[in-house]
């Protein structure tokens, strides 16, 4: 443990600070002594007094004079300190390059009032280590873990480094903090506070005039009170004389300043555009910079370069191409997004359809052998007759539905076959009720064949592109549609066949009854005519003989009664036929009953 050297050095330091007059100490730790100078001075003054008592009278006078000088010096220093706030030494601009070893690892500035941690020998600025430990407060004084090595450490009252480190860091050259205002001085860091407080021409001090309370730059102090109103010659703005120079340098818009590069005098207000756009001496990059030309040339010579530079020549074309590429990329992005939306929509539609499809398919599976009318194109033109209906019924073929479970996406060939098998029967079905669906499937199949340039989706495998996938889905949807319409038509046909069968029997009965009635009526007719003949003969005989009158009139009355009964039966039959007609609503039917009626 190197406890004793720091201790002894620090004691040396403090004793030094106690005895040596402030000039010397401010050299090394100026920052400290500036603030704490009044008590120090008191002490040194009293020491001087003691010395003075023991010396000669001349010595005493000298001493008194020194005291007065010191007092003046200190008071002016204190005053200027009010006007010039203390300098933050970390914010200074260091002129000397300094070693990394002289840098506090926390603030990364040259050590300011460095302390060394006794436990691990690591060194930090006093402020930095205090602030690091600010969160871990202890009543016994600042303590915590060393930021560098995490050793528990504390800051004792005598924690300080050797004087040599303080001297090295305080001897680093810095620029005067007033350098922005015009001070060119470079001073040692330890002296910079004194420089600003005492010497710097650009620091503020109180105005020399007795009745003036304002402050003035130190370099202007000799010119007397400058706090009277003047107006700027260039911009006619009124201000105080003391601030005129600053105004000229940075603010006045109508003052001309000379450009360092092109030596041209430029108005302050145009300075920005000049330095950015017009100054011929400023160097600008080649216009083809984005495409790879790295050369820079002065604005005045930019044209010469542009003529020889391939990049610059190509730039307009390349930018146009770039722009077009960007546009197309944006357009493509939009398209891709649209495609995604469409795909999603199709997927949704497909899922809806595939769930709906379950039901008809189940029915189809149950009645997988649905009797269908087989195609006989020559029957198409035939008018509906009983015989035809019979023939059609006997020719009913069986159409087999493809089992729905075989594939979720039935191949289009199968649908084709099915469409071909199921459509002609519909054409030939003479009894098909309602609007003929013939116009629906035919263009549909045509369209299907012609308009799809892609091969029908034969398998569920991966697709080359989303477009392809979409098209195949579209086709499968169409297949679904045609299947469903075919199924609907089959159902329709079956329905009409059932109705036909139902009615056949009724029709047969009716026609049988009609025949009976016709026979009856023929018998009645024959009887009536025989009776009438007999009556005529009888009448002639009666008129001739006047004998058999009453018996002939009796027979005629009986004949009329039979005829009335027959006509009643015929009207009843007609009523039955009407009922059948109403039930069926078919024109052929009507024709049939009409036929019956004419038979009647």
């Amino acid at each position: 443990m190197s406890g004793s050297p720091p201790w002894s050095s620090s004691r040396w330091h403090s004793s030094q600070a106690g005895f040596v007059p402030h000039h010397a100490t401010s050299n090394s730790t100026g920052r400290l002594e500036v603030a704490s100078s009044p008590p120090d001075v008191q002490r040194s003054l009293s020491a001087a007094n003691i010395a003075g008592h023991s010396s000669l009278r001349g010595m005493r006078r000298l001493e008194a004079r020194r005291q007065m000088e010191e007092a003046n010096f200190l008071s002016s220093k204190a005053r200027s300190q009010n006007l010039n706030p203390p300098i933050d030494l970390r914010m200074l601009d260091y002129v000397t390059a300094y070693d990394d070893n002289l840098m506090c690892p926390i603030c990364r500035c040259p050590f300011l009032d460095p302390v060394v941690l006794a436990e691990c020998d690591h060194c930090f600025c006093r402020d930095c280590i205090r602030q690091t430990w600010a969160s871990t407060y202890s009543p016994l004084g600042p303590r915590g873990d060393c930021p560098s090595c995490r050793t528990p450490a504390k800051l004792g009252p005598r924690s300080a480094t050797s004087k040599i480190l303080v001297n090295i860091t305080d001897d680093l050259l810095v620029r005067c903090p007033k350098s922005e205002d015009g001070c060119k001085a470079q001073v040692k860091r330890g002296e910079v506070q004194d420089h600003v407080n005492i010497y710097c021409g650009y620091a503020y001090m109180e105005c020399t005039a007795d009745d003036c309370e304002l402050h003035v730059l130190r370099k202007d102090a000799a010119e007397g009170c400058l706090h009277f109103g003047v107006s700027c010659l260039d911009c006619r703005q009124s201000m105080q004389k003391a601030s005129l120079e600053t105004h000229w340098r940075v603010q006045c818009p109508d003052r001309k300043v000379s450009c360092e590069l092109c030596k041209e005098a430029v108005f302050n207000r145009e300075w920005d555009t000049h330095s950015r756009e017009t100054c011929p001496a400023i160097s600008i990059p080649c216009p083809g910079k984005v495409f790879g030309c790295n050369s820079r040339s002065k604005r005045s010579q930019a044209d010469v370069h542009a003529k020889s530079c391939t990049f610059a020549k190509l730039t307009p074309m390349l930018t146009a191409m770039q722009q077009r590429m960007d546009e197309q990329e944006a357009a493509q992005k939009v398209m891709v997004r649209k495609l995604e939306v469409l795909e999603g929509g199709f997927q949704a539609v497909q899922t809806i359809l595939s769930t709906k499809q379950e039901d008809p398919d189940q029915v189809g599976a149950d009645e997988s052998r649905i009797p269908l009318l087989t195609g006989r194109p020559h029957q198409r033109g035939d008018s509906g007759g009983m015989l035809d209906a019979m023939v059609v019924e006997t020719d009913v073929g069986a159409f087999v539905f493809p089992p729905p479970s075989s594939s979720s996406r039935p191949s289009s060939e199968l649908v084709h076959v099915r469409a071909g098998a199921s459509l002609p029967p519909l054409y030939s079905a003479p009894m098909a009720p309602g609007p003929r669906p013939a116009d629906l499937p035919e263009p549909f199949t045509m369209d299907f064949d012609m308009a799809s340039p892609f091969p029908p989706p034969a398998a569920n495998g991966p697709y080359i592109s989303p477009l392809h996938h979409l098209l195949s889905m579209h086709e499968s949807l169409r297949d679904e549609m045609s299947r469903m319409s075919a199924a609907l038509q089959e159902l329709d046909g079956r329905q009409s066949m059932q109705a036909l069968n139902e009615n056949l029997r009724t029709r047969e009965e009716i026609s049988y009854m009609a025949a009976q009635v016709a026979g009856l009526s023929r018998q009645v007719h024959w009887l009536t005519s025989a009776q009438l003949q007999r009556q005529q003969h009888g009448g002639a005989g009666r008129q001739a003989a006047g004998a058999a009158g009453p018996s002939g009139s009796d027979i005629a009355g009986a004949g009329a009664g039979v005829e009335a009964a027959v006509s009643t039966a015929a009207s009843a039959l007609r009523g039955a036929a009407r009922i059948v007609n109403a039930g069926q609503g078919m024109t052929m039917r009507r024709g049939l009953s009409e036929e019956g009626r004419t038979k009647l």
Binding site: R31, A35, D88, R90, P105, C109, D113, Q131, T132, T136
Partner: protein, 192 residues
Amino acid sequence: MANRLGAMSSASAANQGAKSAGNPSRPAANGNVIKRLQSELMALMTSPTPGLSAFPAGSDMTKWNATVTGPSDTPYADLTFKLTLSYPANYPYAPPEVLFKTPIYHPNVDMAGRICLDILKKGGDGSEGAWSAVLNTGSVLLSIQSLLGEPNNASPLNGEAALLWDRDQTEYKKKVLARHQEPEDVEAADVA
């Protein structure tokens, strides 16, 4: 608490009396942060570390962008990750906030890019952070780079990754590559 604060402020007042000039006043604190960041930037520029880079994001000196290349012989080899660093006003007494901008599959990084690393948390009363004022941007990035190759599976943010790291390195590498995006793609997505 108030007592404590009072004691502290009086202590610091006494301090000020003792050594006035160097004590950073409150408004100047930000200046000190920027000064320190400038110094760090200078150090990073003059002596760059391979696989690491950092630069202020814009005119604001307290927001930086950084890139870290995955160390070789790890699942992250040859992958580049983009990070953002945001420095608080009391830097370096408090740690910067570091986020992964590139999606990364790692036991100690969550989906939002937050990093579980002790040196990125401030220590002190009760908390387990290990931030130290002597750490800087370079050392933080170096720690993150080494975290890629040596995850702390004891306190994972991404439990699945922690399990997979111990069980199946090839599958882990697959997941890393699946999650990774080139920084340019991330930027393009941000713009879009």
